[in-house]
């Protein structure tokens, strides 16, 4: 999962510390003495891989406070991905190193050490876990899978973890350390699947209005049914839309940035049809129950009273809409809004009205058609670039193209904040 809010130069280090510290601690504890070299490698790779896998589980817990402690959901997910891949590679070394150790005795022994049919069930568990991890990881890299398929395959990966732990515990005996690992893993898995995916801690809201903002873009107003979430402009929620009189939601949690934080704790979210679930949401109607988790992210949280440049691509306009709707700006702000078609860009009229009514707000609206925009010409329109706080939100390709151009124009790394709508 790559992060939506990438602030590459300011990553809080808790997630990274976990990914480095946990495997190192396990390796330090388990490092063998007086064993042949390859066997020692097999042991170290197994414990290092297990540590990385555990770190990866902790980093997928999607609870707002835990996410904040870990440096934000986006950072946590980025490190979750990295540690998962590294864990798989290290765990793959484990059987290979065992075979290399046996090779010193004879090639037949090496083959015996690898062949699952020459082994008993505790070792089969290890092989099963490796195969499941491999299938799940392959899915992670297939970015074009629909969310539903991707999620199913990711569950396969998650199933590999308890099976791998069973392999460890059976071979290790029920020692305190083995059980502590299992407890940590089950806690993290439970927190993710029960609390987050089943939405045990989610807050109920009801859709009170639905407006069409452009072709394939709706905006829903959501009123809390019980205690409301304290959401700030720039943050996102995970929303699972349920059933209405004529509407059947897809029921799974998807991330949406709030496009408005209104009076009475009402929230607004704008949804662009990108795939099956967001397409179905285009028919949303009032009265539908929606469950929200969050808030997550800190995209516009770093704003200060200094000149700002906002760059939005397509539906990436949502965090800026929320900030603009929250009241008059405290600093001169230029918004470059990139969208495909001149006619019918979401929020175009409202933005024009806001720009007309607030002298501190300048709108540069740019219809790009199907071609990539000329970023250099656009950036040249914003004066005093190096003095501004810059926030960029849009498709990953746009964010990737802008980052080096901003740096080349002398913008200090800490002054740029990115949000990408592409993590899962």
């Amino acid at each position: 999962m790559s992060g939506p809010y990438v602030t590459p130069w300011r990553d809080p280090p808790v997630a990274a510390a976990l990914v480095v510290g946990l495997p190192l601690a396990l390796v330090w504890w388990a490092v063998p003495e007086g064993l042949p070299w390859w066997r020692s490698i097999a042991i170290v790779s197994a414990w290092g891989g297990m540590g990385l896998l555990l770190a990866s589980l902790v980093l997928m817990v999607r609870e707002p406070r835990v996410a904040r402690f870990l440096g934000g959901l986006e950072t946590a997910y980025r490190w979750h991905h990295r540690s998962g891949v590294a864990a798989y590679l290290l765990l793959l070394v484990h059987p290979l190193a065992l075979a290399a150790d046996a090779w010193a005795e004879s090639p037949a022994r090496a083959w015996q050490a690898l062949a699952p049919w020459a082994q008993s069930w505790p070792v089969w568990l290890g092989w099963a876990a490796l195969v499941l991890l491999m299938i799940g990881l392959a899915a992670t890299f297939a970015l074009n899978l629909s969310y539903r398929r991707w999620r199913g395959l990711h569950l396969v990966l998650a199933a590999g973890v308890p099976i791998g732990l069973a392999h460890v515990v059976v071979l290790l005996g029920s020692t305190g350390s083995g059980l502590a690992l299992v407890a940590l893993a089950l806690l993290a898995l439970g927190a993710r699947f029960v609390v987050s995916d089943l939405g045990v801690a989610a807050r109920p809201y009801r859709v009170t209005a639905v407006a069409r903002r452009a072709a394939g873009v709706i905006e829903a107003s959501l009123a809390p049914c019980a205690a409301a979430l304290a959401v700030a402009p720039g943050q996102f929620v995970l929303a699972a839309f349920g059933e209405g009189p004529h509407y059947r939601g897809c029921g799974e949690y998807h991330p949406f940035t709030v496009s408005g934080v209104d009076r009475d704790a009402q929230l607004r979210v704008a949804v662009k049809a990108l795939g099956p679930c967001s397409q179905r949401l285009q028919d949303l109607e009032s009265g539908v129950l929606v469950r929200l988790q969050g808030p997550f992210g800190r995209f516009l949280g770093a704003r200060r009273a200094e000149p700002a440049l906002w760059i939005a691509g397509g539906i990436g306009i949502t965090p800026f809409m929320a900030a603009l709707r929250a009241g008059p700006l405290d600093a001169d702000t230029t918004l470059i809004y990139l969208h495909r078609e001149a006619a019918g860009a979401p929020f175009a009229d409202e933005l024009a009205a806001l720009a007309a009514g607030d002298p501190r707000f300048e709108l540069i609206s740019c219809a790009t058609g199907d071609r990539a925009p000329d970023f250099d010409a656009l950036l040249a329109q914003a004066d005093r670039l190096a003095e501004r706080m810059i926030h960029v939100c849009g498709p990953p390709a746009m964010v990737d193209a802008l980052a080096p151009r901003l740096r080349a124009r002398g913008v200090a790394p800490g002054a740029v904040h990115f949000e990408r709508f592409d993590f899962r």
Binding site: P12, P13, V14, A17, L18, G21, L22, L24, A25, L26, W28, W29, A30, V31, P32, G34, L35, P36, R39, I43, F69, L98, A102, E105, R109, Q112, A113, A118, Q119, S120, P122, V123, V170, L171, L172, G173, T175, G176, S177, A180
Partner: protein, 101 residues
């Protein structure tokens, strides 16, 4: 900046404490502590290590060890080799660590 440092320190302390609390690592079967190692298949070695780690009483451990030694002596005899005793014994190790009573 301060909270950032506090977080790093907290993480490092937690991880360090967890590692220190259980320092020592699990016992491992190897050539130096297992009579007849060269006559055991990889699967038997894994199983032997698992059995050795599973005991809670010293007597049960020693009884299993005696059984294992007898089995290995038989294999050695078939191969025309005499087995030398090992300098290190798993059951003694476990007792010294306080795992076996």
């Amino acid at each position: 900046m301060k909270t950032r440092l506090a977080r790093i320190l907290l993480c490092a302390a937690l991880i360090g404490a967890a590692a220190a609390a259980s320092a020592g690592g699990p016992w491992r079967a190897a050539e130096q502590n297992t009579v007849g190692w060269q006559f055991m298949s990889p699967e038997e070695r894994v199983e032997h290590q698992r059995r050795m780690r599973s005991f809670t009483s010293y007597e049960a451990c020693v009884a299993y060890q005696a059984e294992h030694h007898a089995r290995m002596a038989e294999r050695a005899q078939q191969a025309g080799v005499t087995l030398a005793p090992k300098a290190e014994s798993g059951c003694e190790r476990f007792r010294a660590r306080g795992v076996l009573k």
